[in-house]
Each structure stands twice: as structure tokens, then as C-alpha cells.
Amino acid sequence: MARIGGVTWRRTGKIDGEVHVLAVDDSLVDRKVIERLLRISSCKVTAVDSGIRALQFLGLDEEKSSNGFNDLKVDLIITDYCMPGMTGYELLKKVKESSAFREIPVVIMSSENVLARIDRCLEEGAEDFIVKPVKLSDVKRIKDYMTRDFRVGEGEEKERTRKGINKRKQRDSFDDLSSSPPSILSSPISSSSSSSPSPQSPSPSPPSIISASAPSSPPLDSPTRRLKTTSSE
């Protein structure tokens, strides 16, 4: 299939067939979009509107774990961060605390590009952090490293490659410079409710144009760049 941004779209030998993604988002619009993005990327999708429902689907909501294994074969959980009730972060923790499901990669999506938030999620074991709005390239990227984990017959350990966040932001800066600029209101931009400072611009897309102060891509020694990136893209 096509090469997207240098990444070869690979069909690995996943015995069970299609990749099954559990998508969690309280926004109806976002659920519809993520569902479509995943389906068009040949994933099977189950979309739920809350962390509680996600746990119910996995069978984790009971006091005791139902039967101790992932027989619904969820291969990836992609969840919004800001949700009423249980946040994506809390869902992530619950999944990683469970012996049956902790191996399932969890990706967090957020409209807010807050460094402290990203760090906290990654430390808790999230595979990746996508800044909304989610694009097809984001889904292709996470599917790529996810299916790589299920490589058959190569006798390798599972790779835990942490890439993407800084790459995506970098790519964003270049991609969006060529698209038409949005109209900008004269009022100050202040979107983040969190108090942590961030070298990135507060607005997710396109960062380089809307931001009044931040540079368009992080400097080489910025914290977001400390995450290991693969050169094979």
C-alpha cells in the first residue's frame, strides 16, 4: 500500500485478523471521526462514550476481573483525556493495573498540548499522546507501531518505540504552513486550564500560525524531544 510520510504501511502476520480498537470519547463528533479514521485504516472499532463503559466492555468493571484474559481481543485503546466522570488518565491507570489488560497499548488524545499532561500519561504507560484534532496520519502511525508488536516469526522482543509526539509536532509545523491561515481574533489566546508552562503553543492546529509567542517546533534540547524516536520512518 501507499507510503505515507516515509512510513511503509505494513500488513503483519497477525493471526487473529483485523486489529480491534476500543475508542473512548465523550464527544459524539469526535467519536464519529475517530471511528471513521480507524475503519478506513482497516481496524475493527468499538466506540464508547466513557471510561466506565470502556471498563465494562473489557470486563474490568467488576470487583474481580471476569475471567482474566482479553477474549474480546482488544488490540489498542485510544481514549480522550478530558472526559466527565473517569478521565482518560484514570482509565489508563486502571488498564495498566490489570493483569489481563496491561499489555494493551493505550493512546491518549487531547485537545490541549500540555507537557505535564503528556509526561504523566507516558509515565503511566501510555504508548503515545495525540494532540487533537486527530488526523489520518496519526492513526496510521499508531497502527504501524502497534502491528509491529505482533510481528510473527521474527523471534524478537516486543518493541516499545516511543515516537510520534515530537515528530508529529514537527511535521505539523511544516505541513500547516502551506495550508490557508485561519482568521485570528484580536483577543488573547489562552486555552490551557493547566498551570504548567509549555514550550509549545497552546492551540493544537496549526501551532505555528496562531501562537503569539511559542516557536513553531520545539528546540532540539526541549523536554518533548528527550523521548526516544526511531529513525526508521
Binding site: 464527544s27 459524539l28 463528533v29 469526535d30 464519529k32 471521526v33 471513521r36 479514521l37 475503519r39 478506513i40 478530558c82 485537545s111 487533537k132 484534532p133 486527530v134 488526523k135 489520518l136 500547516d176 495550508s179 490557508s180 491561515p181 485561519p182 482568521s183 485570528i184 481574533l185 483577543s187 488573547p188 489566546i189 489562552s190 486555552s191 486550564s193 492551540s203 493544537p204 492546529s205 496549526p206 496562531i210
Partner: protein, 152 residues
């Protein structure tokens, strides 16, 4: 096929103008690319969900701002949701008003909030009209046996 060509050109021009005027951004184009024969009404469906969302959230904000003691956190929660969905559909002007709106919520500035509410209502109506026109143009092309041009 002259008529179809004309309609297609009209569609491209109209679509381009919406981007140029800063009403829609690249995210909308991304969504259009996700539409295919398996999901031919995808964009219209997302837009419909967005319009429903907008109306509900705008009503919530209006009600909250009418109260004697305004719960700015509640207003902010609705604005945050609206900012999210407008960003997901590429409704950049709506999103930008939401960004300013959140500042006023944080500052607990009722007047500022009311102004933003008015602005967001206006931007939403404008977007809705424009998108409905765009979708109508699409329908005309399809009815005449043509295909929707891909906009880059």
C-alpha cells in the same frame, strides 16, 4: 457534460472561498478525504452531529449565563466541548471564538462571555448556512451524474 463541469467548478470555488475566508481549515479537508463509496455521507453526518452539538451547547451556555450567580465553570465546560468539536470538524472561526470565550470564563467576566456567546452563535449560523450550500452543490453534482472534485 458542460453543466457538470460548471457545477464542479462552482463547488471548487465555493470550497476554496470557505478556506480563504478562514471559516474552514485543513481539518475539514481531512474529513472530506475520509469520504468514499463505503461512507458517502460521512461529512454531512459529521456536520449534522456538530450542528446538534452546537445548538445544545450554546443553549447550555445561554442558560448558565442568565443565572443570578453565574457558574463560570459550567459555562467553561460547555465552551471547552464546543472548542473540541469545532476543532475536529475544521470550524476554525467557531473554535477561535471559543478560545477567547474561555479566557472570559476564567476571568469570570460575564459581559465578555455574553459577547462571545453572541459571536459564537453568529459564527455557527454562518458556518451552517455555508456548509448547507456546499452540501447542496455536492448533491447537484451527484444528481447530474458527476463526481465530487477532490480539493487539495
Amino acid at each position: 457534460m458542460d453543466v457538470v463541469n460548471q457545477m464542479q467548478r462552482q463547488f471548487v470555488d465555493y470550497s476554496t472561498s470557505l478556506h480563504r475566508e478562514g471559516i474552514l481549515d485543513d481539518q475539514f479537508t481531512q474529513l472530506q478525504k475520509l469520504q468514499d463509496e463505503n461512507s458517502p455521507d460521512f461529512v454531512v453526518e459529521v456536520a449534522s452531529l456538530f450542528f446538534e452539538d452546537c445548538e445544545k451547547l450554546i443553549n447550555n451556555m445561554a442558560r448558565a449565563l442568565e443565572q443570578q450567580g453565574v457558574d463560570f465553570k459550567q459555562v467553561d465546560a460547555s465552551v471547552h466541548q464546543l472548542k473540541g468539536s469545532s476543532s475536529s470538524i475544521g470550524a476554525v472561526q467557531v473554535k477561535n471564538v471559543c478560545i477567547a470565550f474561555r479566557s472570559f470564563c476564567e476571568a469570570q467576566n460575564r459581559e465578555g462571555c455574553l459577547r462571545c456567546l453572541q459571536q459564537v452563535t453568529h459564527e455557527y449560523s454562518l458556518l451552517k448556512n455555508k456548509l448547507q450550500t456546499l452540501f447542496r452543490l455536492e448533491q447537484q453534482i451527484l444528481a447530474a451524474g458527476g463526481s465530487i472534485p477532490v480539493i487539495e
